[in-house]
C-alpha cells in the first residue's frame, strides 16, 4: 500500500506494518479541552508554552491517553511556530520539552505535531509559500532534534499550506509524515478543496499517511473519509471531533458519547481507515472505546488507486481506470504564433492569460496547458508567475509545459494541487532530470516517444520508447497510473506513411503499458489546406484508436463537436444527455447554407446580432483626414460611449485599413475620451460607464498598437500608443501599504493608459520601499498613490515622504475616497486628483 518506506526512518516493525496498512494504529484525542479541564487555559495562555511551564500536567494528560490505548502521542505543539510563539520561547525548546513530556507519559510513538501557520497564504493572504515553508521547516527540524518518531501535520484548511508543510518536513527530516486536512459540512475546505483532491495531491507527494481531522464528528466525516479512500495511496487517517460543537452556558460542548463515537467510527474503518484517533472534545474515554473497536482486528487490504488525476485545489480531472473517458487539454496558453500573448508575457500582463484560460474552460477544456517559452524571458520566473496568477483565478487544473526542468520545478513547487508535467522524453539525460521532479512534487507526467535517435517511424519504435519511459518512471517510484504517453503527431503532408503508425502506437501503448495517452492533434495538417477539417478527422480517428486527452484549441467548435459526438459513442456521455442538451437545436453546417454548426457558435452569433449598431448623437467632429469614413468614425464613437470593446476592436481594424493610426488616436480616441471624462464630471455617466468606455478605447488602442508593431504605421504613432520605453511617459501606480482596495487605482491606470502613458502597476498593499525601488528601476517621473481608508492615509504619507527623500525630481499624485486637496497638501503630495479623469489631466499637464 505505501510507497517510499525505504527512504524514511521507521522506529520499529509495528510502525512499519502500520505504514503498510497491515495493522491498525491508534492515536490520541483532544488536548485543548483536557488542559482547560485542569484549569490551565486561563486568559491569554499559550498552550504550547505549557510544555515548559506545566510539564507535569501535560505529561499526566498524555499518560491518560497512553493508558487508554493510544499508541501515538502527539506533542502539544499545535501552534508552536516562530510566528505564534513570538519570541516567548524558541521553537526548538518547545518541541524538546513537548517531546520529553510525551515520552515521559510512556508514549510508544511520539509524533511532533505541526498545525497551520495561523496566517493566510497568497493569493488570499499575504504570506508567501516560502515564508510558510520556513516556519514549518523550523518546526520539523525541531521535532527531529527532539527525537520524535514521526511528524503529524494536522487541521490544514489550505492545500497549498499543507503542501508547504509536507515539503518542509520531507526536506528537513527523514521521519514518516502524517498529514490530515479539515473539511466543512459541505465536504470542502474553506478554499474549496474536496477530500478526493486532497487525497490525490497529498498522497502523490509521498507522505506516509493522510486523512481528515477536526471540524466534524465521525458521522459527518464518514462519507468524506470514503471519498478520500478512493484516491489515497497510503494508509488513511481519521480523527473526528466528538460530534458537532454547540454553545452551552458560554462553553463549547460536544454531544457524542465515547461509546457512540466508537460505534460511529466503524463505517470509517470499513471505508479503509487504519490510523484512528480523536480531535476536539475527545478524551481518554473516547480513545479507550476506539481502541476496543480495533483491538485484535486486521485491516482489510485496500487496492492501490489506479485513476489518472490532474487537479487544482478546487477542481479535479479524473480519468477513472477501466472507464472510457476523453478529456480535452486546452493549448492556447502558448506564445508560439500568438503575438498578443507574446506581448502580454513580455509585459508580465497575466490578466491576458486569465482571459485565455476562462475562454477555454467555457469551451469545454478540462485541463489547461501553460507554456511561456520565449527566448527573451526568464522562463522559470515567468512560468511560476503565470501558474500563480492562473491558480488564483481559475479552477481548471494546469499542465505545466516546458522543456526546462528548472522552470518546471519553479512552477510545480508552489502549485496547490496535482499538476500534469508536459513533458519528459526517452533521452536518458531528460529522464534523469525530469522524473525526480515528477516524483518529488507528486505530479502526473506526459512522456514523449522520442529519444537520442529522434522519433521512430514505426508504432513499435514509439512503444519501445514509451516502455522505457514507464520503466524509468516506476524506477523513480512513479506509478504508471500517473503517466500519459504522447506518441507525437507528424504532418501527414510530409510523413504520410506514419499517420496510421501513430494511431497504432496509441492503441499499443494503452494495451501493452496500461497508461493514458495524449496527442497534440493539429500538427497532422501542417502543409495542407483546410487544416481544421483534417485535424477534426484525425482527432476522430485518434479517439477511436484510444486517445484519452487530445491537446487542441477548444475554441474551435469543430474539434469540440467531434469530442462531444465521440463521448456519445464511447459511452462517457451516458444516455447522450449532454449531447442532446447541446445539439438538439443545432444546425448541420453542411446543410441549407447554415453558417454555424455548434450550439456555442450559434449563441455567439445571436449575441453579436443583438449588439446592433444603433446610432446616437456624435459629440465630436469627424476630422478631415477621416471624412471618407465618417460613418465608421461615428460608429466607433458610439462603441466608446456605450462601452463595447468587441465591436470597437473590429471597427478600429477597419478604420486602419486605409488610414493612419495617428489619425485614429488623435482624431477619434482622445477627443471621445475627453467627452467621456466630461460626461463623468457632469454626472451624466456614472463610474461603470466611464470604465466601460475606457475599456472600449483600450480595445481600439490594442489594435492600433498591433498595427504599429507590424511596421505598417509611422513612428509618430508609437509615441501615443504607450509602447515607448521613454521614461517621459512612465507612471508608477500603487494602492498603499495595508490597503487592499484597488478598484480606484485600476480605473486610474486604465484611463492613464488610454491617454498613452505607460503605467507600471504595483498592485495593492505596496510598501513605501517597494514603490521607491520600482520607481527608481523604471525611471518613472510620476507616482500615483491610492488609499481608500482613513487608516491607510498614514501609509500614503510615509510613501510620499520616502519618494521625495530618495527620488528628487519624482512627483507624487495622490487620490482616494477619503482624500482632499487639504490632506494631499499636508502630506506633501505634489498633486491631488479627485478622480481618474482628473488624474489623466494631471499627468497630461505634468508631462506636457
Amino acid at each position: 500500500m505505501a510507497a517510499d518506506l525505504q527512504t524514511i526512518r521507521i522506529k520499529d516493525d509495528y510502525l512499519r506494518q502500520a505504514l503498510l496498512g497491515q495493522v491498525f494504529l491508534v492515536e490520541d484525542g483532544g488536548m485543548g479541552s483536557m488542559l482547560q479541564a485542569r484549569g490551565l487555559m486561563g486568559e491569554g495562555v499559550c498552550p504550547d508554552l505549557l510544555n515548559l511551564t506545566a510539564a507535569e500536567d501535560v505529561t499526566a494528560i498524555q499518560r491518560e491517553y497512553v493508558q487508554a490505548g493510544a499508541q501515538v502521542i502527539t506533542t502539544n505543539t499545535f501552534g508552536a511556530n516562530a510566528l505564534k510563539l513570538a519570541g516567548r520561547a524558541t521553537v526548538a525548546d518547545v518541541y524538546q520539552a513537548a517531546a520529553d513530556n510525551a515520552r515521559a507519559a510512556g508514549a510508544r510513538y511520539v509524533a511532533g505535531d505541526i498545525g497551520p501557520t495561523g496566517s493566510l497564504l497568497e493569493p488570499m493572504g499575504s504570506m508567501t509559500f516560502e515564508e510558510a515553508y520556513e516556519l514549518f521547516a523550523e518546526q520539523a527540524r525541531a521535532a527531529q532534534a527532539a527525537n520524535c518518531d514521526l511528524i503529524i501535520i494536522e487541521t490544514m484548511a489550505d492545500l497549498r499550506e499543507a503542501k508547504a508543510a509536507v515539503l518542509a518536513a520531507r526536506e528537513n527530516t527523514d521521519l514518516p509524515i502524517f498529514v490530515t486536512m479539515t473539511f466543512g459540512e459541505d465536504g470542502r475546505t474553506f478554499l474549496g478543496t474536496t477530500p478526493a483532491i486532497a487525497a490525490a495531491t497529498l498522497s502523490s507527494l509521498g507522505v506516509s499517511a493522510i486523512g481528515l481531522n477536526c471540524s466534524l464528528g465521525p458521522e459527518e466525516l464518514a462519507p468524506l473519509a470514503a471519498q478520500m479512500a478512493e484516491f489515497v495511496r497510503c494508509p488513511l487517517v481519521v480523527k473526528p471531533n466528538a460530534g458537532l460543537p454547540r454553545m452551552q452556558d458560554g462553553k463549547t460542548v460536544y454531544d457524542v458519547t465515547p461509546e457512540a463515537f466508537a460505534h460511529a467510527m466503524a463505517p470509517i474503518i470499513d471505508a479503509g481507515a487504519t490510523i484512528v484517533g480523536g480531535c476536539c472534545g475527545t478524551t481518554p474515554d473516547f480513545i479507550r472505546c476506539l481502541s476496543e473497536v480495533v483491538a485484535g482486528k486486521m485491516p482489510k487490504p485496500r487496492p492501490f488507486p489506479q485513476d489518472f488525476v490532474v487537479a487544482s485545489a478546487q477542481q479535479a480531472c479524473v480519468l477513472s481506470a477501466g472507464k472510457p473517458c476523453v478529456e480535452v487539454i486546452g493549448e492556447r496558453i502558448n506564445p508560439t504564433g500568438k503575438p498578443k500573448l507574446k506581448e502580454a508575457l513580455r509585459a508580465a500582463n497575466y490578466d491576458y492569460l486569465v482571459g485565455e484560460a476562462v475562454g477555454q474552460m467555457l469551451a469545454g477544456a478540462s485541463i489547461l496547458d501553460v507554456n511561456v517559452g520565449m527566448p527573451e524571458l526568464d522562463e522559470p520566473q515567468t512560468l511560476r508567475h503565470a501558474v500563480d496568477a492562473l491558480q488564483a483565478t481559475v479552477a481548471a487544473p494546469l499542465q505545466i509545459d516546458s522543456s526546462d526542468p528548472v522552470a518546471i520545478e519553479a512552477a510545480v513547487r508552489g502549485y496547490a494541487g496535482k499538476p500534469l508535467i508536459n513533458s519528459v522524453n526517452g533521452k536518458q539525460e531528460n529522464l534523469d532530470a525530469v522524473l525526480p521532479i515528477v516524483k518529488k512534487y507528486g505530479c502526473s507526467v506526459v512522456g514523449l516517444t522520442l529519444d537520442e535517435d529522434g522519433i521512430p517511424p514505426t508504432a513499435e519504435g514509439r512503444v519501445a520508447i514509451a516502455r522505457r519511459i514507464v520503466e524509468a518512471a516506476e524506477g523513480n517510484g512513479i506509478p504508471r497510473s500517473d503517466i500519459a504517453i504522447d506518441c507525437l503527431v507528424m504532418a501527414a503532408a510530409t510523413n504520410q506513411a506514419e499517420v496510421l503508425e501513430i494511431l497504432r502506437a496509441v492503441t499499443l501503448v494503452k494495451q501493452e503499458l496500461g497508461v493514458r495517452t495524449v496527442l497534440g492533434v493539429s500538427n497532422i495538417s501542417f502543409g495542407l489546406p483546410q487544416r481544421n477539417m483534417v485535424n477534426a478527422t484525425f482527432l476522430a480517428a485518434a479517439l477511436g484508436a484510444g486517445l484519452d486527452m487530445p491537446i487542441l484549441n477548444p475554441l474551435s467548435a469543430r474539434y469540440m463537436d467531434t469530442v462531444a459526438s465521440y463521448r456519445v459513442l464511447n459511452g462517457q456521455d451516458a444516455g447522450g444527455r449532454a449531447f442532446l442538451e447541446a445539439y438538439s437545436q443545432a444546425t448541420d453546417p453542411y446543410q441549407g447554407g447554415a453558417a454555424k454548426a455548434s450550439a456555442n457558435q450559434a449563441a455567439d452569433t445571436g449575441q453579436a446580432a443583438s449588439a446592433a449598431d444603433d446610432e446616437g448623437e456624435c459629440p465630436i467632429a469627424v476630422p478631415d483626414a477621416l471624412s471618407d469614413v465618417a460613418q465608421l468614425v461615428r460608429q466607433i464613437v458610439q462603441y466608446v460611449l456605450t462601452g463595447r470593446a468587441q465591436p470597437m476592436a473590429a471597427a478600429t481594424q477597419e478604420l486602419l485599413e486605409n488610414h493612419q493610426p495617428l489619425d485614429a488616436v488623435n482624431g477619434v480616441f482622445v477627443p471621445v475620451l475627453d467627452v467621456v471624462g466630461m460626461k463623468y464630471d457632469r454626472g451624466e455617466f456614472f463610474l461603470p460607464q466611464l470604465m466601460a468606455s475606457a475599456e472600449a478605447v483600450k480595445a481600439g488602442f490594442d489594435v492600433v498598437r498591433a498595427q504599429v508593431q507590424q511596421g505598417e504605421a509611422s513612428a509618430a504613432g508609437a509615441a501615443n500608443t504607450s509602447d515607448s520605453n521613454d521614461a517621459d511617459n512612465v507612471i508608477v501606480v500603487a494602492t498603499v501599504e495595508g490597503d487592499i482596495h484597488d478598484i480606484g487605482k485600476n480605473i486610474v491606470k486604465m484611463l492613464l493608459e488610454n491617454y498613452g502613458f505607460r503605467v507600471i502597476d504595483l498592485g495593492k498593499d505596496v510598501t513605501p520601499e517597494r514603490v521607491v525601488r520600482e520607481t527608481r528601476e523604471s525611471g518613472a517621473r510620476l507616482v500615483g498613490l491610492s488609499a481608500l481608508m482613513t487608516t491607510t492615509v498614514k501609509a500614503m504619507e510615509r510613501t510620499v515622504q520616502l519618494v521625495h527623500e530618495q527620488l528628487p525630481g519624482v512627483a507624487v499624485m495622490v487620490g482616494g475616497a477619503v482624500l482632499t486637496q487639504e490632506y494631499a497638501d499636508q502630506m506633501g503630495a505634489d498633486f491631488f486628483a479627485k478622480d481618474a479623469a482628473e488624474a489623466a489631466r494631471v499627468a497630461t499637464r505634468y508631462f506636457g
Binding site: E43, G44, G118, S119, L120, P123, M124, G125, S126, G184, E185, D186, T189, F190, L191, G192, L244, P245, R246, M247, G250, D351, V354, G355, A389, A392, T393, V394, T642, G643, R644, A645, G683, E684, F685, F686, L687, P688, Q689, M691, A692, E695, E737, G738, D739, I740, I743, N746, I747, M750, L788, M789, T790, T791, T792, A817, V818, L819, T820, Y823
Partner: protein, 247 residues
C-alpha cells in the same frame, strides 16, 4: 461554534447605488453585463455565525463616560464610547460574522482580470450580497433573542465611530471565525475574504428595544457613528450618501 448558511441575493438597486448610480441613462449592454455580474455573484454561498455573551459590566473613562463593554466568558472587551452607547441597556450582546468565502475572492479576482468594468460590477454586487447575508444573520439573532424573551438592536461594526478597526483581530479570535468560516484578519486589520462583515448587536429586554434604534433607522444610525470619525466633514463616501464600511 458552527457556521450556518445564510440566504441572500443581490439587491440590484442597492448594488447600483454602491456604484454611484444616480439615474444616468444606461445603455443596454452595460445592464446586460451588470445582470451577468449579479448572476455570478448570486451563485456564491454566504455563511455566518454568531455567539451571544452576557454583558458583565461597562467600563468608564476618567470623564465618567462608558468607554467599553466587558463580556462574560471572554477576555475580549468591546472598546469605545460609541459601542458602549450602542449596547447600553442590553442584557447580552451578540458577536456576528458573515462572509462570502474564498470563492468570492477567486470570482472577484477573475472578473477583474477579465475586465476592470466587470470586476467593479461584481464587487458592488458582492457587497450587496454580503449586506443581505448580514441581514439574514440579524434575523437569526433576532429569533435567538425572541427565544430568550429579548429583542435585538442594530448592528455596529468595528470601524464605526470610535470602535477601532484594530479590534477586528480579537473579535474574530473570540468568535473563532478562522476555524468556523475561514474568515481572517490582515495585518492592517482588514477582513479576508474581503466580502465579509463583523458586527456587534445588543440584545435588549423587549420593553427597552423601542428606545434603541430599530432596523429601519439603520442607515441614519450608521451616519451617527460617522460623527466621531476622524474623516467626518471631508468623507467622499458621505458625499455620495454611502459609508466606508458599506462592504
Amino acid at each position: 461554534m458552527r457556521s450556518m448558511r445564510l440566504d441572500s441575493s443581490v439587491d440590484e438597486a442597492e448594488a447600483l447605488r454602491y456604484l454611484g448610480y444616480a439615474g444616468q441613462q444606461l445603455d443596454g449592454s452595460l445592464m446586460v453585463r451588470f445582470h451577468d455580474a449579479a448572476h455570478k455573484v448570486n451563485a456564491l454561498r454566504p455563511v455566518g455565525m454568531f455567539q451571544a455573551f452576557p454583558i458583565e459590566c461597562f467600563l468608564n473613562d476618567e470623564e465618567g463616560v462608558s468607554c467599553g463593554v466587558r463580556l462574560q466568558g471572554t477576555p475580549f472587551v468591546l472598546p469605545g464610547r460609541d459601542i458602549a452607547a450602542h449596547v447600553r441597556g442590553a442584557i447580552e450582546v451578540a458577536l456576528m460574522a458573515v462572509t462570502l468565502g474564498a470563492e468570492s475572492e477567486m470570482l472577484l479576482r477573475r472578473e477583474t482580470a477579465l475586465s476592470k468594468t466587470d470586476g467593479m460590477l461584481a464587487h458592488a454586487c458582492a457587497s450587496s450580497l454580503v449586506e443581505g447575508a448580514a441581514n439574514s444573520l440579524s434575523a437569526k439573532v433576532e429569533a435567538y433573542a425572541q427565544e430568550r424573551g429579548l429583542a435585538s438592536g442594530d448592528r455596529f461594526s468595528p470601524g464605526y465611530g470610535d470602535f477601532p478597526l484594530s479590534s477586528q483581530r480579537d473579535f474574530c479570535q473570540t468568535l473563532g471565525t478562522q476555524k468556523a468560516l475561514g474568515l481572517c484578519v490582515t495585518e492592517a486589520n482588514l477582513l479576508i475574504p474581503s466580502k465579509s462583515i463583523t458586527a456587534v448587536c445588543g440584545l435588549f429586554a423587549q420593553d427597552r428595544v423601542g428606545a434603541s434604534p430599530c432596523e429601519a433607522d439603520e442607515r441614519a444610525d450608521a451616519f451617527r457613528a460617522c460623527e466621531s470619525c476622524p474623516s467626518e466633514g471631508n468623507c467622499a463616501f458621505r458625499a455620495e450618501g454611502r459609508t466606508c464600511y458599506g462592504s
